[in-house]
Symmetry: C2
Subunit: 408 residues, 2 copies
């Protein structure tokens, strides 16, 4: 099968690329290398050393015998070039990771909000628009987020994309309807994924595009079977306050013998999935496309739910680290319950890697191994959701000396 991976230079894009290449598919990466530019902008880098994409492609060919294509195209900004490439190469499937994916980065300033909206909406729309324009029936697999589910109802687990409701008619009787789950995003980044859903809804209906949307939890872990095959194939490990997920930052803090900084009470429940499972899920989605004319197929791509404070305790037990509470930069409920349905992937054969089982390897193989590369001033999350929160946050962090004075 011929598969295009938009954003194939990124954290999930790269192992997905290797996974499909390893299975014998003909894979091409399309990427504007924005993740590398953002590293440069923020003055941060992956804890694991990142070679250029061209070098990684070369190493993969040596290690596996498989060639990868690489097209340096900005899908969001350069519609015409992307369309020309798509119409010429004509992939059977397009996996779409070409979006800015960090909530804190999206809230950093008005410039970052504009960038995130513009980049993400146009990347998704340009893909759908180009498929119709070149008359290509390729299966689109998109990385969404659990964060599109905002309106959680206590006592109701989150279904996979669609919600069954009863609507009251004018005569007072009730009629069942199934609707796209009502979105209520918690950040500009999450909002762009809600916008994506409406783009998919329209193009699936009007142009009968075949689209799968994967609402993913927080991904943890670094290695997949393929990234382990050579040191230069290693995946990114982001630990900074914008791109580092909560678990990565705990692991780094533990490796530094620094207290684990928990936002607020740490009562926020989050869904998680290991990078290896994430890649397998994309493969399962690829093998189970929707029919032409069918609505967008939506999976919840997550395997377990944890509260942030429980996660901190887990890392603390493993390492002896202490736990410290700091103000949250986010505007959200301090405590929330989260129950998520993920029956579809389990029914299709996913056998999840558990956090409890994989954490130690992540600590030893990644965090401790590369800890000499860390810039500890970059660990705290300082991108605040509002001006008021920002003011409180800076004061408190400076008191705690979590942020060194003047380092922002």
């Amino acid at each position: 099968m011929r598969i295009a991976i938009l954003g194939g230079d990124g954290f999930i894009g790269w192992p997905t690329t290797l996974h499909f290449s390893n299975l014998g598919h003909d894979v091409a990466i399309v990427d504007n290398l924005s993740r590398r530019w953002i590293d440069a902008e923020l003055g941060v880098q992956s804890l694991t050393p990142m070679d250029s994409i061209q070098e990684r492609v070369r190493v993969w060919r040596q290690a596996s015998g498989h060639s990868l294509g690489f097209e340096h195209i900005d899908v969001a900004q350069d519609y015409e070039r992307f369309k020309a490439w798509l119409g010429a190469w004509r992939p059977d499937a397009v996996v779409h990771f070409a979006e800015q994916r960090a909530a804190p980065y999206s809230m950093k300033s008005d410039h970052h909000k504009t960038y995130t909206v513009n980049n993400n909406v146009n990347a998704t729309h340009n893909l759908l628009n180009a498929l119709v324009a070149v008359d290509l029936d390729a299966h689109v697999i998109h990385l969404g987020t659990m964060g599109v589910y905002g309106y959680t109802t206590a006592g109701a687990s989150i279904p996979e994309g669609y919600l069954s409701v009863d609507v009251t008619l004018d005569d007072g009787s009730k009629m069942p309807r199934e609707i796209l789950y009502p979105p209520d995003a918690g950040s500009i980044y999450h909002m762009t994924k809600c916008l994506d859903q409406l783009l998919f809804q329209f193009y699936a209906k009007n142009d009968r595009l075949r689209i799968t949307d994967l609402h993913q939890g927080i991904v943890w872990g670094t290695h997949t079977d393929q990234t382990r095959r050579h040191p230069q194939l290693i995946n990114r490990f982001d630990y900074d306050g914008d791109y580092g997920t909560v678990l990565n930052r705990f692991l780094i803090q533990a490796a530094l013998h620094h207290p684990l900084t928990v936002h607020g009470t740490g009562g926020q429940s989050r869904a998680f999935i290991h990078i290896q499972d994430s890649v397998r899920c994309v493969e399962i989605a690829l093998r189970n496309p929707p029919e032409r004319g069918e609505r967008t197929k939506i999976f919840n791509q997550m395997t377990e739910v944890h509260r942030v404070r429980d996660l901190a305790n887990l890392v603390a037990e493993l390492t002896g680290a202490e736990v410290a509470h700091v103000p949250s930069p986010r505007q959200e409920a301090a405590e929330n319950d989260l129950a998520v349905q993920n029956r579809q992937f389990l029914a299709l054969g996913l056998d999840p890697i558990k956090l409890q089982d994989g954490l130690l390897a992540e600590l030893v193989d990644i965090a401790r191994k590369f800890i000499h590369r860390v810039d500890r001033s970059r660990i705290p999350s300082t991108s605040a959701w509002t001006r008021d929160i920002a003011a409180k946050l800076v004061t408190r962090m400076e008191e705690m000396q979590v942020v060194r004075n003047g380092s922002r």
Copy 2:
């Protein structure tokens, strides 16, 4: 009050500007003049002669004694200049019409889809983003569309923006929830207004912006009390296949003694409102802003519902014109029922102008008066929703000689 009108050079923007100026408000138009550029692109023009915005501003000052500001800024493309202006002028309210507003134009080609998404999403997001960035609590009044309500349920009238539903909990019990009406757009243009709703939802929640969204029906009529005050203050009258609404095209066909071309069976039900009422509704919305921290306030801005074939018959009775059926360029149900709630505006004092009462004046004062300016080849709607529909449409239209061969 200091009021900014984004898109104040357009069809509703202009009479809204004059209406608020006439009430003694300090009004500034912000416009990129895109509607004039699109006229140039399509090779069409308003049936009524349009002077430049600068000239219209000058004539209004002579006629009324009131000055108007005019800022030539592209809100979608030039965030920084818009933000600087907004932060300096600091309006109390911003009325936002700065979007591409024709469904057929949005479906014309992949270029027009990209333009519409890019322009509309960025215009709305740049406004919200800039208000937060310059810390301005101005009331945002946005022109939405009845077209965001896609999932209509037979037997249930369309509520004003929010739908009450029952959600089933995991234990089988039901819980009532009020959700944003599930959107299901019929065109790229309509979809952008669905995206806008999610932008509003986020900024109302995260930044407590005060936002009113007006889901408007098809606007008919040309004059308001102010546009009547001088020939050079006259409003646009679009009759072309992209920007002309169904009623305008019927009036022009009748004035030309040409059959009225009805798409399909003409069984599509549409909501309508007169331009004078539209302007009054914006004023009512201005006087009734939401509280800070309140969710987006949504009104249905329409006063009556008609099927397209009934509208054709109404014009036919008035003028003796014949009715002809042509294939529809749109992908939609041939027949639909539409019942819309509009209690809020009626409760706040709106006394609607009825189509039945105003049609004759529109025919005499506008269509017949300016008919010498018409280009009859521009009347048919030829922007098709899919490639298949386009093929059928061209064949049938050429058979009927509605489109002259070669004129496309």
